[in-house]
């Protein structure tokens, strides 16, 4: 798919360009590496948020278990990096050199079988995408085929997040327990902890993010994207138009899972560890909040939402540690009550008009008569 004028409409093009400007130029030029690394961390949630736009905004499926997939992606990456960091040379002092330190502390004397394939980077990269996709497929197939949706799906995914957290915390010998997998050092011999590496990883992540944005936009523009919208409104009509609604929901859920997993893997690379605290209920709900704040119907909104909320969280907690929960809680309520379409809704309802008028003045071009909800491409 080539990016032509039909791939993005005007406001999306504006969003695309301004985001590219911000992430490729403005932030790298103005922030020191410490802050830039923080931005990289925030952006990992943007992947999850894009997935939620597809699955929740478009498909109407609210998953409160995205942390599960974020975690799975992150853990796959962390397992690879940990094996590399646990070379025999690095772990001489252990009673069993060559296995991760936490295994040694828990009397494991050999690498568990499910760790072995993670010596291979290609396997790891495939696993990052495939493991979450398979799990999402199983959950989705079981639930959507039986028409479990809405609230029930949300609660069950939440329970799955709780289960996985308890499991990981309890299995410290195999997966690092509550401390997670820490002290990751190199990727194929390249030290990921240096400032230089952080800088490069930032750009890798941003490029990947734009790749995902384009992929999501592609899905949105195909008939599948329109079917998701259609399904959210009139599930029965879609069914009686000859579509298997369950399959489409499974697809959307799997896409969201894979996007979350990419985010998780990038998180591990940028932050240098992975722990069960990103798998549970609280981070999962926060991920939904990023999407809601940015605008559940807008891919770019979701990215901005993830950036802004995380940024607010960091800066508020730096300046007013006692107050930031009030701020965060108030933000959730305000978004739901007053701005159900989030930032992108505010932009569309209050700013875009003026921008449009400005652009129309510059280029007297026939305007596309938009509707209040920017869904789907203009029909040809």
């Amino acid at each position: 798919m080539i990016i032509n004028s039909r791939f993005f409409n005007r406001s999306e093009l504006l969003g695309f360009l301004s985001l590219a400007l911000l992430l490729f130029l403005i932030l790298p030029l103005t922030l020191d590496i410490f802050r830039l690394n923080l931005v990289a961390k925030y952006l990992t949630y943007a992947f999850v948020a894009i997935g939620l736009v597809i699955c929740w905004g478009y498909g109407g499926i609210l998953s409160l278990g995205q942390g599960v997939f974020f975690g799975l992606g992150g853990y796959c990456m962390a397992m690879f990096l940990k094996l590399e960091a646990s070379s025999v040379a690095n772990t001489k002092i252990q009673s069993t050199p060559g296995i991760p330190d936490f295994m040694d502390w828990n009397q494991l004397t050999q690498l568990p079988f499910f760790w072995k394939p993670f010596h291979s980077l290609p396997f790891t990269l495939i696993a990052i995408l495939l493991v979450p996709a398979i799990i999402a497929f199983i959950i989705g197939a079981a639930m959507f085929k039986r028409r479990v949706g809405g609230v029930y799906f949300a609660i069950i995914t939440q329970a799955i997040a709780a289960i996985l957290t308890i499991l990981i915390v309890g299995q410290q010998g195999y997966i690092g327990g509550i401390n997670g997998i820490t002290d990751l050092r190199t990727l194929l011999g390249w030290d990921i902890r240096t400032d230089h590496a952080k800088f490069i990883l930032y750009f890798v992540e941003v490029i990947l993010l734009f790749g995902c944005i384009c992929a999501a936009q592609f899905i949105r523009l195909t008939k599948l994207g329109r079917i998701l919208v259609a399904m959210r409104e009139q599930e029965d009509r879609v069914r009686f138009s000859g579509y298997s609604v369950a399959n489409f929901k499974i697809f959307a859920f799997c896409v969201a899972a894979m996007l979350a997993a990419i985010g998780g893997a990038m998180f591990t690379l940028n932050v240098g560890f992975m722990s069960p605290s990103f798998v549970g209920i609280v981070p999962s709900i926060e991920m939904v909040i990023y999407t809601a704040v940015g605008g559940r119907m807008s891919i770019f909104g979701a990215v901005y939402g993830a950036l802004l909320v995380s940024f607010a969280k960091t800066s508020l907690s730096e300046s007013f540690p006692q107050l930031w929960l009030f701020g965060l809680g108030g933000l959730f309520i305000a978004v739901v009550l007053f701005f159900p379409n989030g930032l992108s809704g505010i932009w569309r309802d209050h700013v875009q008009r003026h921008v449009d008028r400005l652009l129309t003045l510059v280029k007297s071009r026939k305007r596309w008569s938009g509707r209040s909800i920017a869904v789907g491409a203009p029909a040809e």
Partner: protein, 251 residues
């Protein structure tokens, strides 16, 4: 099964169909047959089980017992989308269209191609699709509204759009649930005209209260009462049936 000795002459054969909701039998041991190109109207007082019958045929409601054979396929074992793909189209009582999509997109979704997940990803809006959509849009009086979002349409236009969505599916059996209910007089005339064009060359199952309309189109009428068939036959015959007069036409 009973169907075994029925030759393939019927398009739709409903036999011994029963559905019970917690003991209440909304449809009770119902049997009827629809031939190719037949227009069958189901009438009956409120709560007679008319809509439930359509729900059962299109798979929205699962039968407690009984069989529904369509072109030799057992519909009770199929999922809704498979029933649609087998050639059964259904219009609901209240217009059921996609408000957040344009008229074009609404029709395009019903176009019978790319119905799988990956099929819809690879679906291209080629000339065949565009031509067909425009053709149908013309039939349903919405040719100049193709780029309008469906939520902006009037009630009647929404009904037409839904009929158009069925039309584009090109079903062998078309099921319409009160297609002219809630329409203005002028819309009603136009709808009758529309229905008369689209019911050609296919079998149609209609639920309708408007007797004038029923008389105009029906080949055969089935009267339901309390989940059972009260009377069946030509409009003339049904009209003169004393049982029918008593429960339905009489008041």
């Amino acid at each position: 099964m009973l169907i075994g000795h029925q030759p393939q002459e019927f398009l739709l054969a409903v036999e011994g169909l029963t559905v019970s909701f917690d003991g209440f039998k909304a449809v009770n041991d119902l049997s009827f047959y629809v031939e190719e190109n037949e227009i069958r109207v189901i009438i009956g007082p409120n709560g007679a089980g008319k809509t439930t019958v359509l729900d059962l045929i299109c798979g929205k409601t699962k039968a407690t017992s009984g069989a529904i054979q369509f072109r030799g396929k057992e519909l009770t074992k199929l999922k809704e989308n498979e029933i649609v793909q087998a050639g059964v189209g259904r219009k609901f009582q209240t217009p059921s269209i996609f408000d957040d999509l344009t008229v074009f997109e609404n029709l395009e979704i019903s176009y019978p191609r790319g119905r799988t997940v990956f099929g819809s990803l690879a679906f291209k809006r080629d000339d065949a699709v565009k031509d067909r959509v425009e053709e149908v849009a013309e039939m349903i009086f919405l040719k100049d509204k193709l780029k309008t979002y469906a939520s902006f349409l009037s009630h009647g236009q929404k009904q037409w759009l839904e009929i158009g969505m069925l039309l584009i599916q090109d079903p062998d059996l078309l099921m319409l649930d009160e297609p002219v209910a809630g329409m203005s007089v002028s819309e009603r005339v136009k709808t009758a005209e529309l229905l008369n064009t689209i019911i050609k060359n296919r079998s149609v199952l209609v639920i309708e209260h408007d007797m004038k309309f029923v008389e105009d189109i029906a080949h055969k009428v089935t009267v339901l009462h309390q989940g059972k068939i009260l009377s069946e036959g030509s409009m003339e015959k049904v009209k003169n049936d004393s049982k029918v007069i008593e429960v339905y036409l009489g008041h």
